[in-house]
Subunit: 343 residues, 2 copies
């Protein structure tokens, strides 16, 4: 297989989302032609609108659950025919907490969705795929930091199960059809355009309480003791690109995180300090270590595999939380939107 | 959870198939009421017809891809309402070789099918599930015999990926809804009612050649050197039941195989000797060790986990091949049917 340093035309599914839109900006800055395919269910026009005048950028509103629309989107640029070199497949349902009330959503959006992406690639002879997987596929691991070849996990969420299936399908397509893949198992990602997750929920709570002149309370779903790892979105994008340009196996699987972890309570405190609310906020904790069903109380991925290829994260978890706080403070419009359409 | 020694009412999906119909016979002999749910795509009426007069037995023609039909089937006994204790979920597409020409079949039959089974269980408050998984989920492992906690595998077939997803979904449902599961990773199963796989293909070839007065050739897809493990269906059933009655975790995962392996060439030779054709057959080998895309050239599962609970396989691979040969010889009607509807 050729290396990807000089890739020219790419598709990004979920390209109007948090990570996808950063990937689009990054690739455009490298002179790559980028087509975003997004159903805008959680993706946002505001994350891509600065690129709308760029002739190297286009987008199409299409749902990865719609095989026919997807197959067409993967071979067109506006009204013209276009062949693409790589699909960055980032479109997904990322709502782990919602699994229990809507257990088949991950099947449809992550399982069937990924199958549709692979079939659309096959129909259009696209041979390379980059996939956003998750550390959740390790379930509740017993080895920390958890390496890529950790013991065969027992899944604890429909989300993790569906992402593991996405990985498995992609690997099987590589075996069957000579495709090539780069699969990244992320920790939680923070930074600009961050629109859901623990920091977002904390911030949203506080702003709502402030608005209603209520006393400020930071409410933890867990007992505050879970230890989690986070990665700044800029490091996430650099890590993805580093793997894509430095690993050339048929199936390339990498953990993507930092060499740090943080206790969730401390994460809350950093956020509160950054908002200069430390004298006003009280903390309220849940009774159990697991904040929700399928929550893993300790997440720390072993990132030495990607580090051995020369990649290094640059931003600490503390700084990533601060950047996220600043972004949310400066973009209050994000808080107004309901992130998950049906929860 | 209660133990399952005194289970009263069970569903068997795929209960007219090879393993499912043996499970039905076994449970009926124990006095359990058995309802078979099968779409008869590969299941056969001849495998269950001896039970049709048994008042403890019933069957319903329904497809696990049909959520509505399944949900109804899981709460009825004929026209009456019935609650079931356990679902033995054996309905599946087991055709690994067909993956490459029909890559989404496993998604529909094994992925979506298993999701439908779990949703039908949830709708009818059935809390226990037994699942037929496969050693194929280990991809091409590096540890032999391969234990249940082998390193996180890279999937090499859509079949393996879909079965791993089935396992993951079941585990996630156990976590989310307090269900309990027994998951068995099988090697290839041999014995009475065996209707597809390597021994079947070899036998079918030879009978067809004999019928056409051609010279007898045993044609191997591989170079004959792959080493595989096989288990007699009687041992498979006893192993499943042993796990169900001796393991009581929320998620119970067991390899199911023998302490032996056999070189595929030798398997062919045993079959030929058993048919008393050793003076007439020549052997023709493929050029590569992998017989087809997604084929694993070495399969040997570590079965100590189930053995440690007191289970032991009784039939050697050699005897399992002989029993299979006798069954096929005495049931030539099996050869006449096309096993896979659309391959």
């Amino acid at each position: 297989m050729q290396d990807n340093t000089h890739v020219k035309n790419v598709i990004i599914t979920g390209g109007a989302g948090f990570i996808g839109s950063h990937m689009a900006d990054f690739l455009l800055a490298k002179g790559v032609r980028v087509k975003v395919v997004d159903n805008f269910s959680t993706g946002k026009m505001r994350f891509i609108e600065h690129n709308l005048q760029n002739p190297m950028f286009s987008y199409e509103t299409a749902d990865i659950k719609d095989q026919e629309a997807l197959t067409k989107a993967f071979c067109t640029w506006g009204v013209e025919k276009q062949h693409y070199d790589i699909v960055f497949h980032f479109a997904a349902n990322a709502d782990v907490k919602g699994n229990v009330t809507n257990p088949t959503k991950c099947l449809h959006e992550n399982g069937i969705g990924t199958s549709n992406v692979l079939e659309a690639m096959r129909a259009n002879n696209i041979k390379k795929i980059v996939f956003s997987s998750t550390g959740s596929i390790y379930g509740e691991p017993e080895v920390f930091p958890t390496p890529e070849d950790a013991p065969f996990p027992i899944q604890t969420s429909m989300y993790g199960a569906s992402k593991a299936y996405g990985e498995g399908l992609i690997s099987a397509y590589c075996e069957a059809y000579g495709m090539q893949s780069w699969i990244y198992r992320f920790v939680s990602i923070l930074g600009e355009r961050y629109t859901h997750g623990v920091v977002f929920s904390f911030y949203q709570q506080l702003m709502l309480q402030q608005q209603n002149n209520e006393s400020l309370q930071m409410i933890f779903l867990s007992d505050g003791t879970p230890r989690k790892s986070f990665l700044y979105v800029g490091d996430c994008i650099s890590g993805i690109w580093h793997g894509v340009t430095h690993a050339n196996n048929n199936v390339n699987i990498f953990n993507l995180g930092t060499d740090e972890e943080i206790v969730v309570r401390e994460l809350g405190e950093i956020l509160v300090h950054e908002l200069r609310l430390q004298d006003n906020v009280t903390y309220q904790f849940g009774k159990t270590q697991r904040g929700w069903i399928g929550d893993s109380p300790f997440i720390r991925l072993d990132i030495r595999k990607l580090q051995s290829l020369g990649w290094q994260p640059r931003c600490s978890i503390r700084d990533a939380i601060k950047k996220t706080a600043h972004y949310l403070r400066d973009n209050s419009w994000v808080l107004g939107e309901k992130y998950f359409r049906d929860t």
